[in-house]
Amino acid sequence: MIRVQREDFDIGAEIGALCAGNHRIGGIASFLGVVRDEAGGEAIEGMTLEHYSGMTEKELTRIEAEARRRWPLEACLIIHRYGRLEPGERIVLVVTASGHRGAALEACHFLIDWLKTKAPFWKLEETRRGEKWVDARGADDAAAARWVREPDKAAE
């Protein structure tokens, strides 16, 4: 399940609703991304997340399908916020649930790495010197690249 929304979310309530009644689940992993108060040594007062409505939902749906193809997931949730956010506020939530912890943890890690290089979002940061569009990080591409070799094939 994927959701793109302006509003905040409650992690406990989301995980509870996602996994309710499914007792095949033995492990639930989650990743929560929040707004930091600095970037490159400069204080951040807030940021605005812009996205490509329509394509964002398509890409997130595709990313979720890819995770389900690679790992035996019982449930999966991606929530990504847009609009203006201040330091400490929640930006993104990834939850994966599986029979065992291995698949849940790996799929969760995969989803956040893959999302960062595929979902069309852009961050505009507010600093004391004005607004600045965030540059893409090479480290994000490198993090995503480690998942290009699929787990079942990596062992061959």
């Binding site: 490509y52 993104v92 979902a119 069309p120 852009w122 569009w133 893409a136």
Partner: protein, 83 residues
């Protein structure tokens, strides 16, 4: 053709979206970017360095040799920075 611009490309071009009618010889994304860039002004500024411009046609990421046609939705944006 419906054009949509995001992040600093939108800021430099000055509009979030617009309808354009490129000449018939504009067949690919690369042709379209060259044609827009040649209009100068905000387009010239936004498209000065194509290594930092990404393109989606009908909401799918594409490369420079991808074809473009009159009814397409074409989006131009910088490398993504979500998550």
């Amino acid at each position: 053709m419906r054009m949509i611009y995001f992040a600093w490309l939108r800021a430099k071009i000055g509009v979030a979206e617009e309808r354009i009618e490129p000449p018939a010889e504009i067949a690919t994304v690369a042709d379209l970017l060259d044609w827009l860039k040649a209009k100068g002004g905000g387009y010239g500024d936004a498209l000065a360095d194509l290594s930092v411009v990404r393109v989606a046609v009908n909401q799918e990421y594409v490369k420079a040799d991808h074809p473009v046609a009159a009814g397409d939705e074409v989006a131009l944006f910088p490398p993504i920075t979500g998550g």
